[in-house]
Symmetry: C2
């Protein structure tokens, strides 16, 4: 009486159509043959409109990020792994252990299933590496021309580490400011990947989880004052937020800032300051001066002590330039690089 | 030295531009003058890339939904309240108390700030009524023509009620099948609102939270077997999922099904079966036969006992028609109504 037969998805040549977002059999097939195939875990397997998860012990942390990066694939990553790292990192830098992810997809009709499969596979790989399963999801489809391939909104839930209470307000004059590695790689790599510039640059996005580094810094106890991942708006924007939250000044030393020559060169050609260019696998931290050595060894060889917290001028970020001068690093109104994440 | 001055947002005449998604000062202004103004709560006020929440006591439930409804405003609601209700309801029908929401926005460049404000206000109102705050969010902007006004992905977290373990597998032959009110209102109202049909129908979406009804049903203990909110794919799709999960048959009585004349009439003109049309404020439940009276009084005057669980034919949904016949209600491949939620 009942016809269960639908041809298997043609992942190699097929395309997303409106029925894949409709809640019917075609959507169930897309979920089963593409999403569940890569993301499978016990929670997704429950097959309900949400996931039943274990009890947690501690305060919750929740963060969400919509991802609209263009292009979808770039050297060093793609929207899939980026959407996993981005949200896990937001949870981790708040001092929490990331536990679970949810993912909501908006797909454009006509999008190649092969590209979708590549993206979902990349998410699965990133989630697996970070040990944070994607436990529930949703898929919607809009008509061709009403989106741009795929948008992915991920939401992360974690549990705050015992005794960890990070805030810009914890910063004290004399504290050191750290970055965990070179800045601006992600934004520069995505910009170059757009191919609108006649540039050939051998550079990859730094997209990666920072949860392990964040965990090591949390072991410093109250010597760790504050952490952030400097994504949209880059290091300059994150430090301006810190300056505002703390009511103190942040002084950074241009000479000490790790910037790859490829990033510096590309930014110079474009007239962009690398201080404002997004990273997606770095963290910045404020550490008590007595814990500098421990922080450096926790963060690894690429990390750098780039500056310090000062009492004044209140609320400002200052750059000590290589030429011996000093200038204010303000927050920009907009970002020179749209759709970078 | 530092210029803090940006003109206030012109919410009445202004439009979203690319800088509003850039992570800089323009985005901070949009968040402060539009989002935070309506959604303010102690968690959003933390001003970090995520929210620090209290400890929870019990098993977590997590659900996410991407919302792409077209049009954005329709009789009885809009994408704002819909995105709140949709996710809260998914959490509630799993037997959990919804606690927190996250919201990710993808905005199209040029979208009217007045419309965005109306949508955010509607979210705030819905969240307030349901007692579930929006604790964190994210905003991205894409170029004109790369989205369709606004897409909103909401994610809900809740805590499972003690002793509640709902599943289609709990259903037993003889159990009653309930719906909490008339079906198909939402999908029909949205379809009519598109204005592509020369129809004037006095009908509103049923978008509403079902958490209070779900809570009352949970008080039935193990006499409550399973709940679901029949959104995309409507009652027919939800009951097919139940039939599959339970390995039993679901028999529903066409005569007992509450369908408004406006919905029945519109669907008839369009050749659509109201059984497949989305509701956004209804729940369906399977209840032990001995608890039918208690369930009816818990669900209120609009609820109806519409059928029963049978031993066979396994995995099928059957409709007993008003003409005295019986037909299989299969799962559709697609949905007759795209972008309904």
């Amino acid at each position: 009486m009942k016809s269960d037969y639908i041809r298997p998805l043609d992942i190699k040549h097929g395309r997303v159509d409106m029925s894949h977002g409709s809640g019917g059999r075609a959507m169930a097939q897309l979920i089963e043959e593409l999403f569940a195939k890569h993301l499978s875990n016990e929670y997704l397997a429950q097959g309900d409109d949400g996931a039943r998860l274990p009890a947690v012990n501690g305060r919750l942390v929740m963060s969400t990020d919509a991802h609209v990066v263009s292009p979808l694939f770039f050297p060093g990553g793609d929207i899939g792994c980026l959407s996993v790292h981005g949200t896990i990192n937001d949870v981790a830098v708040m001092g929490a252990t990331p536990l679970y992810l949810a993912a909501g997809f908006v797909l454009e009709e006509g999008f190649a299933l092969a590209d979708l499969a590549r993206i979902v596979e990349s998410m699965a790989q990133a989630a697996k590496e970070a040990g944070v399963p994607i436990v529930t999801g949703d898929t919607k489809v809009v008509e061709a021309g009403k989106a741009d391939g795929v948008f992915i909104t991920t939401t992360g839930v974690g549990v705050l580490r015992q005794g960890v209470d990070l805030s810009g307000a914890n910063a004290r004059p004399g504290d050191a400011v750290f970055v965990s590695g070179p800045i601006g790689d992600h934004g520069t790599a995505v910009m170059v990947a757009r191919g609108e510039l006649a540039l050939e640059v051998d550079l990859e996005s730094d997209t990666a989880p920072v949860a392990a580094s964040a965990q090591k810094l949390c072991a410093l106890g109250t010597d760790l004052r504050w952490m952030r991942d400097p994504t949209r708006g880059g290091l300059a924007t994150a430090l301006n937020e810190l300056a505002q939250q703390s009511g103190l000044a942040i002084s950074i030393d241009e000479h000490a800032l790790p910037v790859r020559p490829e990033v510096a060169g590309t930014c110079e050609i474009l007239g962009i300051d690398p201080l404002y260019v997004a990273c997606e696998g770095r963290l910045i931290a404020v550490i008590a001066s007595g814990a500098v050595e421990r922080a450096l060894s926790a963060l690894g060889a690429e990390a750098a002590d780039v500056g310090e917290v000062r009492a004044e001028p209140e609320g400002l970020v200052l750059l000590q330039t290589t030429l011996g001068g000093s200038r204010v690093v303000d927050m920009l109104v907009g970002d020179p690089l749209p759709r970078i994440c």
